[in-house]
């Protein structure tokens, strides 16, 4: 027996629509993995049993951007891939958040060459950056918590980016 025994019968809660929507959103983020390099291996480890991102409600990995609200860009993005990434980002329904995972996605990393995008944030919005090469799964979990904080600050009447 747990909490429900204290309410008895048909209990009720008082809250605001904003709080309860944000509470639902931040505990059920659906990530869209965009893994192109070694960071994707760490991302997969984060999704799997040992680190278990499902403890924080973000385990429903969607391979269709139309069903996801959290884009995890993990790995190098080259100039041939950037239009694809932008298209996938634009296909995601609002509200949506982006994690730029690892040095390559955030700033090009060691690959300061003609094919490499020097940070995806030059061409699309990024909410949280994860340092590391590659970051450990704990870092990605920490980024998820940062995203959850951002989700908690949303106002449902104004949309994610204000209107």
């Amino acid at each position: 027996m747990g909490l429900e025994s204290l309410f008895g019968g048909e209990g009720f809660l008082t809250t605001t629509v904003n709080s309860i929507v944000n509470w639902g959103r931040k505990n059920a983020l659906w990530p869209m993995p965009f893994g192109t390099a070694c960071c994707a291996i760490e991302m997969m480890a984060t999704f799997s049993g040992r680190y278990d991102i499902s403890r924080f409600g973000a385990e429903v990995v969607r391979f269709s951007p139309r069903q996801a609200d959290l884009l995890i860009v993990s790995g190098r993005i080259c100039i041939k891939m950037m239009p694809v990434l932008q298209k996938i980002y634009r296909q995601m329904p609002e509200p949506k958040w982006v994690i730029s995972m690892g040095a390559c996605a955030s700033c090009g990393g060691v690959f300061d060459t003609y094919t490499m995008i020097q940070g995806v944030d030059q061409f699309m919005p990024v909410d949280v950056y994860v340092p590391g090469c590659p970051p450990r799964p704990e870092s990605l979990l920490d980024a998820l918590f940062e995203i959850q904080k951002l989700v908690g600050e949303e106002r449902i009447d104004s949309g994610k980016h204000g209107s």
Partner: protein
């Protein structure tokens, strides 16, 4: 292998004369010849000597080096069976007209090798039926493995529109703070400044 069955021992003397140089190094044989002569040599290797496998086609850029010509196109040939052998044929190719006849009719595997060499060095293989870019985007304006191409490119990596939030939707915007898009604004002062900045190592 090559010590036992030297690659060019069976060449007729008329073709022997075309070979400028033979280098043996650690059991590997390297022959070199001039550009238009490679065709008759390769035909002989394919049909008379049974080199049935073209391992790779690639090139070397000797910019600034004291060599016969600027480019060397490298064919790696292999023969299997009773007299196995592998060697390289290096073909000197001038900078003013970097054009070679294709060997797709001799080895099918030349298709992608020649495409990649074209993509990276700008060498044109006449007769290749599908000489599109292989690795770089189709509208890429340069040939990145040339020695005079800067490592960080000439601003091609900044060509994209930005996806930015506007109200409740995302729109694509052309950036205004730097020149964008291949083929546009390539010779403006801003573009040249961009190239110089991109060509320097980061601090």
């Amino acid at each position: 292998m090559s010590e036992q069955y030297p690659a060019h021992a069976d060449l007729p003397s008329s073709l022997q004369e075309l070979i400028l140089d033979t280098i043996e190094h650690r059991g590997q044989t390297q022959l070199s010849c001039k550009a238009p002569d490679h065709r008759s040599l390769l035909e002989n290797f394919r049909h008379q000597q049974g080199y049935d496998f073209l391992v790779d086609v690639t090139a070397i850029d000797y910019l600034g080096k004291d060599t016969l010509e600027r480019f060397e196109v490298v064919y790696v040939l292999r023969r299997r069976g009773a007299r196995p052998d592998q060697f390289r044929l290096h073909v000197w190719l001038g900078e003013s007209d970097p054009t070679l006849s294709s060997v797709v009719d001799l080895w099918d595997s030349a298709r992608w090798g020649e495409r990649e060499t074209h993509d990276m060095f700008g060498i044109v293989f006449e007769g290749n039926p599908d000489l599109r870019r292989l690795l770089m985007p189709e509208d890429f304006p340069a040939f990145p493995l040339l020695k005079d191409y800067p490592l960080t490119g000439r601003g091609e990596r900044r060509q994209f529109p930005r996806v930015v939030p506007r109200g409740d939707r995302m729109v694509e915007e052309e950036p205004t703070d730097y020149p964008t898009s291949i083929g546009r604004g390539m010779h403006t002062p801003e573009y040249i400044e961009e190239v110089e900045r991109d060509s320097k190592p980061r601090e």
